[in-house]
């Protein structure tokens, strides 16, 4: 049975002068433990889709179900990591990573120790009493991941978590996140611009077209790549073939967009 199910979800933003349809007729289902990536051009509604799944935004059409129950407020089993880290600058790292526990009234010793363990796993135990401004971009991103994982969500929504990082840090974090999530048996949706990242990390890749955002195609990543760490997967011979395939589909989307604009 699917953990997450979207049925013809659509989102239209209204303003005084216009109505923008950001998403239209999005239907998908994701099983527990699956890693899904969403690729698509800028402005096609990826962040909007994550906000809807996170329960922060009620879609103007369709429905979102988690375990067959409709979601209309932030679900305790879903963790959302925003496009930037958004660590609270006035809180220490310790207070930042336990924020979710505090808000969910789960700040028992056991849970707090769990959060500290995660921080240790991710190699940042020594930063506990520091402030976010004293950390590098990559470190902050890792702290944000710990903050999201601390409430022990079943599913993680990651919005371009690595886009602001340098290439090397990004490759390392991909491995770290991928292994951390696998180890804890998490379901995940990753939004990214990077085709390679999508292939290396996921089981499924969803391609969105823009204006309005629709599901253009869904790819299954070959089994040979799924079992590998992202860094290894990038070296594998099946990687470039899959890359080529997705690349061509993305070209199609852009062509369609272009035709729409010119017609």
């Amino acid at each position: 049975m699917a953990f997450l199910q979207l049925k013809s979800v659509g989102q239209t933003y209204f303003s005084r002068t216009s109505a923008t349809t950001a998403l239209e007729d999005i239907s998908l289902s994701i099983n527990e433990g699956e890693f899904t990536s969403i690729l698509g051009p800028s402005g096609c509604g990826k962040s909007t889709l994550l906000s809807i799944i996170a329960g922060l935004l009620i879609p103007t059409a369709g429905s979102v179900m988690v375990n067959n129950k409709p979601v209309n407020h932030p679900h305790p089993k879903i963790g959302y990591m925003l496009q930037q880290d958004y660590l609270f600058p006035w809180k220490t790292i310790e207070d930042n990573i336990t924020l979710g526990l505090k808000l969910r009234n789960q700040n028992t010793d056991e849970h707090i120790q769990g959060a500290f363990r995660l921080l240790k796993e991710i190699g940042l135990e020594h930063t506990k009493s520091k402030y976010p401004s004293e950390l590098s971009g990559g470190m902050r991103q890792r702290v944000a991941l710990v903050r999201t994982l601390a409430t022990q969500p079943k599913m993680l929504l990651l919005d371009e978590p690595f886009s602001a990082l340098d290439y090397q840090t990004k490759l390392k974090l991909e491995d770290l996140v991928s292994s951390t999530l696998k180890e804890h048996g998490k379901t995940a949706i990753l939004v990214t611009h990077d085709i390679g990242e999508a292939i290396a990390m996921s089981d499924n890749v969803i391609l969105l077209s823009s204006n309005p955002g629709r599901i253009f195609r869904t790819f299954k990543i070959p089994k040979t790549l799924k079992s590998l760490l992202p860094f290894e997967a990038r070296q594998h011979s099946d990687f470039s073939a899959t890359f080529q395939q997705i690349w061509e589909e993305l070209e199609h989307i852009e062509q369609n967009d272009h035709e729409q604009e010119t017609s």
Partner: protein
């Protein structure tokens, strides 16, 4: 070798900073001394009217006299107390009102024109009305100190509330936080710098409010001393009160700056 050169350059750099700082202090002191000595000399020589402008030495001896008979402390304590109370209450009410406006966008839209009008109005003009309403006492002086700072605080803090990055609120909401928690965890702490800076403005405003209040009703305080000195043509008393106010207001401002450095170390 090159490290030694860098070290030497660094030392020279530090020395240059130190020297500049010392020069600034010297010039500041010079201005201070020459101002007061010019004042003194002009007064003795009769270049300025000593009855109107008094002189530093007369002010100082009056200060010593008033200080030794203890009457000065009562006046200073009275005014200082009113001002501190006025500015704390003004900031507090202003922030509370801002919170209310943030809580209810509808209310904020309704109240918007009224706030603009109230802000533009010279609050001290309300003095007589306050006295009639509250009575010619301590209460109406405090009310004056509060009134003069509360609206501007509301406007400044509310604008700061609105400018908080919406994504921090999203983080709290994604953890199931409600509106109250959003306010407590994000909006309020994110705006501490703005609240403190309105505190700084309010130090000055509250002094205005309280002194004007004392002009109107009081039998005590520095404002009363100014008005009294004016009525009996004792300008030494007026100027002494002014100097004391200047010192007090500066100390209070520095206190707020100290608070600022303690409270908002990590807001960036």
């Amino acid at each position: 070798m090159s490290k030694m050169i860098t070290n030497k350059k660094h030392l020279e750099f530090l020395l240059a900073i130190k020297k500049e700082k010392r020069n600034i202090r010297i010039v500041q002191l010079l201005i201070f001394l020459s101002f007061f000595s010019m004042w003194e000399i002009s007064s003795i020589q009769g270049w300025i009217n000593p009855l109107l402008f008094s002189s530093p030495s007369k002010i100082w001896s009056l200060f010593l006299e008033k200080a030794s008979d203890g009457s000065l402390y009562i006046h200073v304590a009275f005014t200082l107390g009113e001002t501190v109370l006025g500015f704390i209450l003004g900031t507090l009410f202003g922030t509370l009102l801002a919170a209310l406006l943030w809580w209810s966008p509808f209310l904020s839209k309704v109240l918007d024109p009224y706030l603009v009008v109230l802000n533009a109005m010279p609050k001290v003009a309300l003095g007589p009305i306050l006295i009639v309403a509250i009575g010619p006492n301590f209460g109406s002086i405090i009310a004056m100190g509060v009134l003069i700072s509360v609206i501007i605080t509301t406007l400044v803090v509310y604008t700061a509330f609105q400018n908080v990055d919406e994504n921090y609120v999203k983080v709290v909401r994604s953890f199931g936080g409600d509106k109250k928690q959003c306010f407590k965890e994000v909006i309020l702490p994110a705006c501490f710098p703005s609240i403190i800076s309105s505190l700084k403005v309010n130090v000055g405003l509250s002094w205005v409010g309280v002194i004007v209040g004392e002009f109107l009703v009081s039998k005590q305080g520095l404002g009363y001393m100014i008005i009294y000195g004016f009525q009996v043509f004792n300008f030494t008393l007026v100027l002494m009160s002014l100097l004391i106010i200047a010192v007090m207001a500066t100390l209070m401002y520095q206190g707020v700056e100290y608070l600022e450095s303690k409270l908002i170390k990590h807001h960036s």
